[in-house]
Symmetry: none
Subunit: 199 residues, 4 copies
C-alpha cells in the first residue's frame, strides 16, 4: 500500500513512520488518539512507541514541533517576499490550508513542554512579529496588532469551520477573509486591552 520508503536505517525509519501515523491518527480522532492506534498505523508494536518517545505527550510534542517547523520555514521564506501585505495574507492562508489543528498545538505545548518545542515556538513568534511589522509599514495591516495576536487568530478559521455540519471543505476561507478584513487598517477603532505576552 504505502509506497516503498527510502530505506533509511531501521531506527530512523520507524521514528518517521510513527510521526506520520500519529499525525494521521490525530487528524481522525483528535489529540487523544490512542497509542495502540498510532502503533497499529505505523506497523510497530506499542512498546516501540515508547522506545522512540518518552511518553504520549512527548510524541504529541514531536509531531507539533515538526509541523511548526514547516510553518516556520514558510514564514522565513515569506519574510523576503516583495509585497509585505500579501506575504502575511499568504502565510495565514497556507497555514490554515494545512488544516492541521495547529491551534491546540499551543495549548498542549505548555504542558508537554520540551526544549525544542519552546525554541521553535519562540522563533515562530519572532517571524510572525517581523511579518506583521513589515505589513504594517506597508500600510496593509492596522498598527495595533502584534505577531502574537496574529498567532492566536490564525487558529480561528479552521477551528470555527470545523463545527459546521455539512460544509464544503474550503469553508475556512470565508472566515479567514473576514478576519483579514478585520486586520485591515481602514476604519478600525482602537483595540481594547493589551496584546498578550509571549510567555
Amino acid at each position: 500500500m504505502t509506497p516503498p520508503r527510502a530505506p533509511r536505517s531501521d531506527g530512523l525509519h520507524n521514528r518517521a513512520a510513527l510521526l506520520d501515523a500519529a499525525g494521521a491518527a490525530y487528524a481522525e480522532h483528535g489529540f487523544d488518539a490512542s497509542i495502540a492506534d498510532i502503533a497499529r498505523r505505523a506497523g510497530v508494536a506499542k512498546a516501540t512507541v515508547f522506545h522512540h518517545f518518552a511518553s504520549k505527550d512527548a510524541l504529541l510534542a514531536a509531531v507539533l514541533v515538526q509541523r511548526l517547523q514547516k510553518l516556520l520555514d514558510l514564514g522565513e521564506r515569506l519574510l523576503e517576499a516583495e509585497e509585505p501585505g500579501a506575504a502575511l495574507m499568504e502565510f495565514l492562508a497556507l497555514s490554515a490550508q494545512q488544516r492541521q489543528q495547529n491551534d491546540l498545538a499551543f495549548a498542549r505545548t505548555v504542558e508537554a513542554a520540551g526544549e525544542q518545542m519552546n525554541e521553535v515556538r519562540d522563533r515562530m513568534f519572532t517571524v510572525l512579529d517581523a511579518l506583521v511589522l513589515r505589513a504594517q509599514e506597508a500600510g496593509a495591516v492596522r498598527r495595533d496588532v502584534t505577531g502574537m495576536d496574529v498567532a492566536l487568530l490564525m487558529c480561528a478559521p479552521t477551528h470555527v469551520a470545523a463545527f459546521a455540519p455539512n460544509a464544503e471543505p474550503d469553508l475556512w476561507r470565508r472566515y479567514l477573509a473576514i478576519i483579514l478584513d478585520g486586520l485591515h487598517p481602514q476604519g478600525a477603532g482602537p483595540l481594547p486591552g493589551q496584546a498578550p505576552p509571549r510567555h
Copy 2:
C-alpha cells in the same frame, strides 16, 4: 458500620448541583471530564449522576441546552433593541463574556442529539438570522454574511484567547473587536465560497 447518610436533599437540588458541577468540570478539563470528577464536585455518589441523567452524553447535552437557553433568551430580548447594529455586537459580547466554551457545543450537539437540543439550537439559529438581518438593514453589517456565519464566528474570540499563556481574562475582547471590524460593511471584498447550511 453504616456511614451517616447525607441529610437528604430534594431531587431538584442535586440535579442543579450536578449541572453546575459538570459546567465547572468541563471548564477545567474540557468535555471529557470524568463522571467521577463531576460527582465529587457535586458531593454525590457516581450512581446518582445516572439517576438524573441517562448517560454521560445526556448530562453534557443537558448542560449545553441550559447554556444555549440562556443565550437564546438574551438574543430574543435583543431582537427588540433600538439600534440593530449595537444589538448584534452586544449579543456577541455577552455570549463571549459567559466564556462557556459554547463552541464545542455545536459540534457535540450533533452527536449527543436529543429532542430539546435540536430545538434550542434551531431557535438559536433563527434568532441569529434575525439579528443579523436587522443589522444588515441598518447598514451595520456586511450583506454577505448569514446568521450561521455569525454563529460559528462567535466561538472564536474566547477559543482563541484561551491559548494565550498568561493573558488577562479580557483578552477575548481584542479578538471580538477585530472580528467585528471584519463584519463591518465598508471596504470588504466579496467572501469566497458559500455560507454553511444549518444542518
Copy 3:
C-alpha cells in the same frame, strides 16, 4: 390494555401485578431479569417491589411457588384419573406445555428457600411418587424409577428444545416422547445407581 382487574384492595393488587410482571420478565430475560424491569412492567416504583418481597430472591421464590402450586393442583386432580399410565403422561405433557422453565426452579429453590417453597415442593414430590406408583402398578411405567426421577426428567424436554435455533415451538414434544418411551417397562435394562433422595 389490561382488562380492568377486579379492584381488590390496593396492596393485593400490586402484589399480584408484580408476580405477573416477574413471570413475564423471567420468560423474556431469564431469571436474572432486573428489578427495575419488573417494576416497570408492573407499573410501580422499584421500592414497591421490596415493600412486597423482602429481596429479589424472595420474589423469585414467590413466583416459583405460585407456579408449582398450579402444577400441584393439576397433579392432585390427575391422581383420581381412571388410567394411571395416561395420567402420568398427561401430567408431564401439561407441565411441559406451560413451558415455564420450571427446571431452574428446583435449583434456585435451594438457595432462596422459604417455608412455603419447601412445603409446596415436598407435596409435589409426594404427588409425583403417587402418580408414578399408580402407573407402575398399571404396568405402564418401569418399576425402577421414582417420583423424584420423574421430577428431574420432566424439566428436560423444554430445556433441551430451547437450544434448537429455529425450531417450531412444539419441538419439546419430540423429546418428551422419547423420554416417555424410555420410561416404558418393556425392554429396559436395570438403571445404574440409585434414585436421588428428596433432600
Copy 4:
C-alpha cells in the same frame, strides 16, 4: 513503591491458565462468572484477560470451542468403531462424563459466534449425523431421530441431574440410561413434529 512483578511467564502458559480458570469458574457460577473471578483464579490481573481475549464473550467462545474440539475428536475416533450402536452410546456417555455444561454451549454459540465456533459446531453435527446413521443401519437406534436430535438430548442427563440436591456424582448415568432406552427402536411410536434444523 513498585510491587515485585510476577516472575514472567510465557504467553501461552497464561492463556492456557485462563482457559482453565474460566472453565472452573463457569462450572461453579455458571456462564456469567465475572472476569475478576476468572482472573483471580488464573493468578493474573484483570487486564491480562483482555490481552488474550478480546471480550468476555470471546473468552467464553474460546472455552467452548476448546471443549467441543475435544468432543469432536472423540466422535471422529468413534466413527471407526466396530459396533455402531455401542459407539453412539459411548459417545454420549463420555460426553456426559465430562460434565462440562456443554448444553449452554449451543445456545450461547449463536450469540458469541466467531468463525471457529461455527466451524467446530458444524463439524460436530456432521459427526453426530454419521454416528446416528451408522447406529440406525445397525438396528441399534430408532429410525426417526437425527444427529441434531441427539445433539440436543445429550445435554439433558447432566443438566437434569444437576438439580438433584444431594445426589451422587454419577446420577446422570440413570438419566442417560433412560434416554438411551428411549432411543432404542423396539416399541416406539412415531415421534411428533419434525427434527429441528441445524441453523
